[in-house]
């Protein structure tokens, strides 16, 4: 089997928009989702700002039953279900209360750690010798696969229902896992995506590593500065992104709009060898991952016209640009347009890959390349490799043909996916 695989649904729950239209509006206009977080200040964090989706109770009620909402303490599940159900509906797929599940439909929905607030509450009860008061949902809210389990039940999927986890590459990796399964004919439709909880118990470890910016507490929207000479670290985010991947045959049969085709991709690891460590990438592995993705997609490097990088706003941004440049064999004005959405909504950790992939794919339909914010002062090491006009500071009109999306994560892991404007 060698099915063509297309994207027919998108959903998002991001710091800068909890619906696709809100999200699109803020990306087009560079409206930041980074805000001051009182609880981080109260807890004496160094960094008091973060990206957190603004979900109201009324919004939650559209997705959860009163019983589900009652003890729901896992923000990752809230974000993941909102994004996942929206993507499903966007793909015009039904949500039915049938007696059998749909055996051809599956879910691959990743996370880094789930239900942290719920777990904290459970720990306090257990330590107080009050385990009996945990209630019935503490397991499903804190198991990593809680998100795929919730979505699987809501949507009635009977194919593979699983959760992948590979730090900040999780979302991009999930897209490729779904792509491969559909390509091989093992599933027709897979909802893929990823989510990441909000809050001090998720972000604390990064604050302790001193890799979050500490000088922008009064100026949150300026804090996340990918590719900038004044970048001082990534801003933690949270949320979820979701995509419906489907065999081309199924999409044509259903007669639904197609956002893009997934041409292929690659995942690998630098093995924490050479310059690679638990937290730093091995450049050889990054370049190989991009080269293999291009090979897998059966395209020429020269045909990529837009890149969405990982580009977190740390000192490693210039190295990432260098790796893209070497892998593609392109530099200066010949380099593709490149953007990083982390300037707008921060680094959503395990959810980063999927939220950014949703944003990247929206560019096909909008015929735009969304602008980068907070990098008016481009890092000189970056401009020594690529031409400044390839880093749009505002959203520009351009109809992307082929977009490469990469994510890199702790553990020296990499993923790169190649998307193409759909034409049959």
């Amino acid at each position: 089997m060698n099915n063509r695989v297309v994207i027919t649904g998108l959903g998002v729950c991001a710091p800068n928009g909890v619906t696709i239209s809100e999200f699109a509006h803020s990306l087009k206009n560079g409206i930041s989702g980074i805000r001051f977080q009182q609880e981080l200040d109260d807890l004496a964090f160094g960094c008091h700002i973060a990206g957190k989706p603004q979900v109201t109770d009324a919004h939650k009620q559209e997705y959860f039953t009163p019983l589900q909402l009652r003890a729901l303490n896992s923000t990752g599940i809230v974000y993941g279900v909102i994004a996942g159900v929206d993507a499903w509906k966007d793909a015009k797929l039904p949500i039915e209360n049938n007696t059998s599940p749909d055996w051809d439909n599956g879910i691959i929905f990743g996370t880094g750690i789930l239900g942290v607030d719920q777990f904290r509450e459970s720990i306090h009860l257990i330590d107080a010798k009050n385990t009996r008061r945990l209630g019935s949902t503490s397991v499903m809210q804190t198991m990593a696969s809680g998100i795929s389990a919730y979505l699987g039940g809501i949507l009635g999927c009977g194919n593979q229902v699983t959760t992948n986890s590979s730090a900040c590459t999780t979302g991009t990796e999930g897209i490729l896992m779904a792509y491969e399964r559909i390509k091989l004919g093992k599933a027709k439709i897979i909802l893929t995506g990823s989510c990441s909880d909000s809050g001090p118990y998720v972000w604390g470890g990064f604050d302790a590593m001193r890799i979050l910016p500490r000088t922008y507490n009064d100026n949150p929207t300026k804090a996340s500065r990918p590719m900038s000479a004044s970048a001082t670290g990534f801003v933690a985010g949270s949320g979820a992104g979701a995509l419906v991947l489907e065999s081309l045959e199924s999409a044509l049969e259903r007669g639904v709009p197609i956002y893009a085709e997934v041409l292929g991709g690659a995942v690998n690891s630098g093995g924490q060898r050479g310059e690679g460590t638990m937290t730093a990438p091995n450049s050889e592995a990054v370049q190989r991952c991009i080269i293999e993705a291009i090979k897998d997609a059966n395209i020429e490097a020269a045909t990529i016209d837009v890149i969405n990088g990982h580009l977190t706003a740390t000192a490693k941004d210039a190295l990432e640009i260098e790796n893209w440049s070497k892998a593609l064999g392109r530099k200066g004005g010949d380099f593709p347009y490149i953007n990083s959405f982390k300037g707008i909504f921060g680094h959503c950790l395990a959810a980063a890959g999927s939220i950014e992939a949703v944003a990247s794919i929206m560019q096909f339909k909008e015929n735009l390349v969304f602008g980068n914010i907070n990098c008016e002062d481009l890092h000189p090491e970056i401009t020594s490799i690529i031409a400044p006009q390839k880093i749009p500071l505002q959203t520009i009109t351009h109809s992307p043909e082929i977009i490469a999306k990469a994510s890199f994560g702790f553990g020296d892991v990499n993923a790169c996916a190649i998307f193409k404007r759909f034409s049959n």
Binding site: L67, A71, R133, G135, S136
Partner: protein, 84 residues
């Protein structure tokens, strides 16, 4: 606390746990939580916790095992309140 008041309080607790195809109007003193009201057995654990909070009592494991119907629950609640 009067019997009727206890019943209303319990009914309020149970309402949220009823599946879509069971209406609260179907609830009687004889209703069996799992077999008749189709309440998910995992949720019985939550009903017990809600009962503890609402009546300010603590149920033991054996009480939980015996709490199969609405009547059982009312009896257990009454015993606990009487023993306070």
């Amino acid at each position: 606390m009067e019997t009727e008041e206890r019943y209303q309080k319990l009914k309020e607790i149970i309402t949220i746990y009823l599946p879509e195809d069971v209406a609260i109007s179907e609830l009687t003193n004889e209703s069996h939580f799992i077999n008749e009201l189709n309440i998910n057995s995992a949720n019985l654990v939550d009903i017990v916790l809600d009962v503890e909070d609402a009546f300010d009592i603590t149920l033991e494991n054996e009480d939980m095992d015996q709490m199969l119907t609405v009547n059982n629950a009312l009896q257990i609640i009454q015993n606990k309140l009487d023993a306070k």
